[in-house]
């Protein structure tokens, strides 16, 4: 089955997850091979997600763990789990 651009957009996220059937994967890749726009869309979305994944390493505010521990110690000493 030939997919049009709208179908590609709908499958894009699942495709990036590797969560499409073999058939859909082939269709997406066949479409992308001849559609400049969808190829670009797929590429750039993927690239942005690479950048987003990098956010995972964002630094915690300095002293975050110490302050959390202190707060928990204080509150936990007052009352236990209900």
């Amino acid at each position: 089955m030939k997919l049009d651009c709208k179908h590609i957009w709908r499958e894009l996220s699942n495709y990036l997850e590797g969560e499409v059937s073999e058939e859909v994967r082939r269709d997406v890749e066949a479409h992308v091979a001849q559609c400049r726009h969808c190829a670009a869309l797929l590429d750039s979305t993927h690239n942005v997600l690479v950048l987003v994944a990098d956010e995972r390493r964002m630094d915690l505010p300095i002293g975050f763990n110490a302050r959390l521990r202190e707060r928990l110690e204080r509150e936990m000493s007052i009352s236990g789990p209900e």
Binding site: W9, D43, S44, H46, D59, I62, M76
Partner: protein, 260 residues
């Protein structure tokens, strides 16, 4: 100003690692091209090893929970240690203000401690914990009474409605050097901040924190189908915002300290 990431490397210059998470990403010329289907989960090793590891982790968590409930409150620190960063990041992505995110993270852990007895062990501890964190973050946001951004984008997650990505002339261009600099990190943060709340939530859980679809849907309390649709929207919108912001930048590098 900041506490280092858990690894020994500088947390802010580890883009190469970030790219490595997607086995398919390759920098070629000015364009980062997509190789055959990248696995966003970045999993390696056999499924059975993974299941074993998860089982062991779960057992350890249950032991710690029992211990805390038996009165060893100290053990709560160990129980939550693996999630401090993720909970903070999630709160930060929703709230976009460091101090608020820290407050919310503290509140969430405290709430989890107080409600620990009600954790039913039907879902993972982390799923339960992140649900508490998301709810705390939402409450904080309500209090701030932000002007809703939802109006900027279609607010319809039904399976039949499509989000149409922008058609920009040059949209393929996200220069590879952009992947490596501080300016880009700022642009990514700002672009995430510009997403409507519910899209920020799904994106931070799945794409920043690496939760899988099932966990994400459980944390958000929405169906798997709905999670996928929302995630697709979030990703396309983010791409649009990011590309638009990148192209707004002048080609020439501006001197340090001077904003473009």
């Amino acid at each position: 100003m900041v506490e280092q990431a858990s690894s020994g490397t500088n947390g802010r210059s580890a883009s190469a690692e970030g790219v490595g998470r997607f086995a398919g990403a390759k920098v070629s010329g000015c364009i980062v091209t997509l190789q055959p289907p990248p696995n966003l989960l970045g999993m390696s090793g056999s499924v059975s090893t993974m299941v074993d590891q998860q089982g062991a982790k779960k057992e350890k968590e249950y032991r710690l929970i029992d211990s805390v409930l038996a009165g060893n409150r100290e053990d709560f620190h160990e129980l939550i240690a693996p999630y401090r960063r993720g909970v903070y990041l999630t709160a930060y992505d929703v709230l976009q203000i460091e101090a608020d995110a820290e407050d919310v993270a503290q509140e969430a852990f405290l709430k989890a401690f107080r409600a620990l007895r009600s954790f039913r062990r039907e879902s993972q501890f982390s799923t339960w914990l992140f649900r508490i964190a998301i709810n705390e973050a939402r409450m904080k946001l309500r209090k701030r009474r932000e002007v809703p951004l939802e109006t900027l984008f279609p607010d319809d997650d039904s399976e039949n409605s499509d989000y149409t990505p922008m058609m920009l002339k040059d949209w393929r261009e996200i220069p590879s050097e952009a992947l490596l600099n501080e300016e880009t990190r700022r642009l990514v943060r700002e672009s995430i901040a510009q997403l409507p709340e519910k899209y920020r939530e799904v994106l931070t859980l799945r794409d920043v924190n690496g939760k899988n679809i099932a966990e994400t849907s459980e944390i958000l309390g929405i169906s798997i189908g709905n999670t996928k649709v929302r995630l697709l929207r979030a990703r396309l919108m983010l791409r649009d915002i990011f590309v638009e912001r990148t192209q707004r930048k002048p080609k020439q590098q501006t001197p340090r300290g001077v904003s473009p």
